[in-house]
Amino acid sequence: MEFRKGATAIAGLGVTAQGKVYHARALGYAVEAIEAALADAGLNRSDVDGVLLNPGLSWRDGGMGSLHLQQAMGLTDLRLSATMNLGGATAIAMIQHAALAIAAGLCSTVACVFSDALLAPPRAPAARRNDGAGGSGARYAFASGLDAAYGHIGMNARYAMVARRHMHRYGTTNDHFGAVAVAQRQWANRNPAAQLHDTPLTLDDYHRSRWIIEPFHLFDCCLVSNGGVAVIVTSAERARALRRPPVYLWGTAQGHPGGDPLETLRTGAVLTRESAFRMAGLTTSDIDFCQLYDCYTLTVLMTLEDYGFCEAGGGGPFAASGATAPGGTLPTNTGGGQLSSFYMWGMTPVSEAIIQLRGDGGDRQLQKNEIGLVSGNGGLLSTHSTLILSRLAS
């Protein structure tokens, strides 16, 4: 089978409870998510012949996690197995890898899963509890060498440096970052599954929220969540015979720019915007909605620019115009995203795209829901992946 637009599809989606959930560890959430995805698709464990895992930071022996996952689920006779890590770009890369393997005839039905369980319950022993130092994601607060000596610790610090350069070069302001946060909270307020569903956010609330590392306020930074998300990838033909409306893969690509993001101020979307859209036979004007990796508000702005929805440096004014919010011309992160819904790395935007394309969006369901653009991002704007999905076969 040729690897081309519409040849493969997502046939199942499984999302566990998200956020401050403590009944399992990362492996357990991965199993739960895959089981939910299989039930969603109307499949059994015996139907799975491929397992791809993107392990979150809490995985033990994460390097060979797919082996543990196979054993935990009692899966036999797999034809495809891999533990992959491009950070937040992995979810789409797993789906791409699954689709390529299916098209090549290696396997037929692949479970792609992410899970993590960094948060420990409030009354856990001190060794497991992540206390105030480091906030809710102590494992992301890595530090070494001279960086540590100067107090430059963790991913927030690194993205904050890039944000300041974006502000310097393009005049981006905290109002612009806040516009992203506010728009996504509006979407989350319509999503009962979002961790921040019950909490509205105004631009004032955003500005008054405590500084994490300037120029980032609390609400510039994504949530940290325990849980898992899985999808089942099959051929389009197989997906049509299953329980849910297929979500077809129209285009996909990876882009890892290298260089110094402080200099380049760009994501890998500049590399994938031509290749992924060519595979899908589309331009950006064909996109009905975006689900963009939003580890920070900054990441959304830069990704919008790099896909060409606005000019370089224009992401701030674009967001401030309301374009990405409910009622806007380019609905973005329509479940609330990682900022307001849940943080399952690249599976957060993937899952919301599937929900919208299937018409399962409830109060946040978009009327124009034929074609969705999904992005993944990892490291410090180091890795990137693009996925174009449609509810139409071609």
Binding site: G134, Y150, G151, H152, A157, M161, E214
Partner: protein, 79 residues
């Protein structure tokens, strides 16, 4: 090397990520572009946080933290 340069980017850390910095927050972290063209990470001293800007001129000061450890930091260049 002259030890002089300009601020290429900066952050101000408010969150305590390590107990060693509990008394220091909020503190600035800077990337300085030295006159020679190299960039390095450091802290800014002798300046109020509100005065920090990208492009401001700075010069190195050597902070002798212990007999074994000296860290270069930067302060605004006197006008």
């Amino acid at each position: 090397m002259t030890g002089r340069g300009t601020v290429f980017s900066y952050t101000v850390v408010h969150q305590v990520y390590h107990p060693g910095f509990a008394d220091a927050v909020p503190y600035p972290v800077v990337i300085v572009e030295l006159e020679e063209g190299v960039r390095m990470l450091s802290n800014l001293v002798d300046t109020s946080l509100a005065d920090i800007t990208v492009g401001m001129a700075v010069e190195v000061v050597f902070d002798k933290i212990t007999p074994e450890v000296t860290l270069p930091r930067f302060r605004p260049t006197s006008p």
